[in-house]
Homo-oligomer: 232 residues x 2
């Protein structure tokens, strides 16, 4: 049995706590990052707090092996005195929405093989997909995630805005959104690309621009150009 | 039983043909747009050809009720002499990939109630989601579709490029891509937004920009700004 101490009370910590409670392989304790006076001992201490708080919180913890859960921070952000690591789950966590841990990629980093193995064992107890990812790789993943998640979601918002303005229900676009996402599993995004930009269909592009506001036009032009650059 | 003539041999025509063959409500015939000499009569003639060919092909058809399947063209693109309409399915069709017609939104337009009803009946025989959409609304949908499909797919490509450059498997991002898409069913894109742009986390944004090439930086900055404008 591996003892795990969870520090934090946010979305990530809460979802992890629920998952660990369900497995016999883990004995889990959860504390708030505001109550760091009597810290329970544990084989693994997982700090699931905001990026800005990692340094301070970790500096107050004397447990042997401390990891954070942040995609945006290097392993060196940890200021504990002993062994360090990262336990990053690449997924968006929403309050109240159940998480299927079998679908979540665990990106694991440690400074020695034994610790790496321990993280792998802990991840395996609640999930399936585990990857050994160093801080440089994780940084790249984090940026890529901004494009495929935040920026993509912003295009959903622009799509929604256009529909609202022209009195069309946005739900008509839901199946297309899902199909675009699921296509990626069997087709590279390069091969999956369709539409007026890749066809260099300047008549349709002009028609589309006529319908957009200034900011939307600017984005439409830049992405169209970038798509066309990528196939030249 | 409704008789349907399909003109065209591309992806849309082929998928429609397969679907119509399965239902007893429709008697379907398919011809190529290159063999327009002896055109079979039909209650409904569906022209599924490229946008550029709609005018010419429709001008050669004397059947009573002729529709096209294009999201990008107005109903007036049809040059037949009698009744006109549009039978637009908002989805990406790939060769060889089976289509679930129950998930496809049919955007239907006609110039009178009887024709509208006929289109609805035909769509209902192979699918579920039917919408009455006029040419102006369809134009807006078509632009919105470019954002949520083509442009989103381009962000998948950029994510893929970043991963390849930093030796991380792109598949790690697949679950996030799917979750981002499926979130939209229960949460508006505005409320679903997360990440450094909406948090105005300038430290993370700077870190991200350092890792990108010039074109990626340009796109990153513009979309970040657009996200921040949208919440001000």
């Amino acid at each position: 049995m591996i003892s795990v101490l969870l520090v934090g009370k946010g979305n990530v910590a809460t979802h992890l706590h629920t998952a660990f409670l369900k497995t016999d392989a883990i004995a889990v304790t959860q504390i708030s990052s505001r109550e760091l006076k009597n810290i329970p001992k544990a084989d693994l201490t997982i700090i699931a707090v905001s990026d800005d708080a990692i340094a301070e919180v970790s500096s107050k913890i004397n447990n042997k092996f401390v990891v954070h859960t942040s995609g945006g921070c290097s392993i060196n952000e940890l200021k504990n005195q002993t062994r360090k690591g990262v336990f990053y789950m690449l997924q968006t966590f929403s309050k109240g929405k159940e998480v299927n841990f079998n679908e979540i990629p665990f990106c694991l980093e440690a400074t020695n093989k034994k610790d790496q193995k321990l993280l792998d064992k802990v991840a395996k107890s609640i999930g399936k997909k585990r990857y050994e990812i160093n801080s440089e790789q994780r940084k790249a993943l984090h940026v890529a995630a901004v494009f495929v998640n935040n920026f993509t979601n912003h295009f959903y918002k622009i799509g929604n805005d256009i529909c609202t303005e022209h009195h069309v229900p946005f739900e008509i676009l839901h199946p297309l959104i899902n199909e675009t996402a699921s296509k990626i599993a069997s087709l590279s995004p390069e091969k999956a690309q369709t539409g007026p930009a890749v066809r260099k269909d300047s008549k349709t592009i002009k028609n589309h621009l006529d319908l957009l506001n200034k900011e939307q036009q600017k984005i439409y032009k830049i992405i169209t150009k970038s798509i066309q650059n990528s196939i030249d």
